[in-house]
Assembly symmetry: C2
Homo-oligomer: 190 residues x 2
């Protein structure tokens, strides 16, 4: 069943009756995104919340210097969206691009609101998911402050080997917050 992965993902966060799980999953519609195509581009409003079934996405921002700075990569079993743009229905600063042929399950904003009203336990699910996400962002910020680029590189490739193997060094550099030239020099020394 197409929703199996989503169900497993939900179960990692909360234990819900099967009826709730099914009702939640029914709001999500599959979509295929070919490699290099965008799920969201800077300036447009994020109208979906996505769950990745296959492939991988890069969520990045283009800064004033024209550099692509990657917020995160979302592979199978990750969530993908611009939470600020989705919540507040304002133009996004982010680009979300498939780096492989990919497949996602999407829920629209209207359906998400409806979901919260009709399946109250969804509030708990997304509260817990959000709180776990805060922990991850805090830890990433700490690593950025306390560790060198080399340590951050080693941390990423050992923590997310499956994602890292799909990425070019240029993409990884954009995630670490360094230039790809410097990443090349780091790798040579190790």
């Amino acid at each position: 069943m197409i929703n199996d992965l989503l169900i497993q993902n939900i179960k990692k966060n909360v234990s819900l009756p099967d009826t709730d799980l099914k009702r939640i999953c029914n709001y999500f519609k599959p979509k295929t995104i070919p490699k290099k195509e965008f799920l969201l581009t800077q300036g447009s409003i994020c109208k979906f919340e996505g769950f990745v079934l296959e492939g991988c996405f890069r969520i990045f921002i283009i800064d004033k210097k024209g550099h692509e700075n990657t917020l995160y990569f979302a592979a199978k079993d990750w969530w993908v969206m611009d939470i600020d743009s989705f919540m507040n229905q304002k133009p996004s600063d982010l680009n979300i691009q498939a780096i492989e042929d990919s497949k996602v399950l999407l829920i629209t904003r209207e359906d998400k609101t409806d979901l919260y009203n009709s399946v109250p336990s969804a509030e708990k699910l997304f509260r817990i998911m959000s709180q776990k996400s805060i922990v991850a962002w805090q830890q990433r910020l700490i690593r950025n402050h306390c560790q060198t680029a080399k340590d951050r590189y080693n941390y990423y490739i050992s923590t997310y080997p499956d994602i890292a193997s799909k990425l070019t060094d240029k993409q990884i550099a954009g995630y670490l917050g360094i230039t790809h030239e410097f990443l090349s020099k780091i790798k040579k020394k190790s």
Copy 2:
């Protein structure tokens, strides 16, 4: 009334009936923390979620080199806790210290669980608070990657002038992720 500030804070996130607001607030108990004392120390388990009524806290981690790296400052109308330690009841990596005589409202973990069960709308409240928090952490990470220390300093003091005025330069440097010597040099040049 002591809970006025908390009620106003909640109302910024969700609109709830007064009965719910009161029931939520009743779980929170006031506590006074003198300047320099700790609400939480590294290694202990975070047993509370706090809302700051007066004063200011510094939430920081001591890294391998012995440097104090500040995750954030929490002044009046901010929330303060180690969300990872609180959720998972595991030893905290964080220290939370009052940098002024301070007053907080605290809810214990047991009461928080009870609150979610007895006041279902609390799920929505904390979901929305958490989602806003994710946005803030994402934006901070982007600023850390795309901006120089000087830009980050100017951003902080102009965005949070009331908090910045309570802090020493050493404390601000620890938040920006730079040494206090370098902050001193930045300030001289501007």
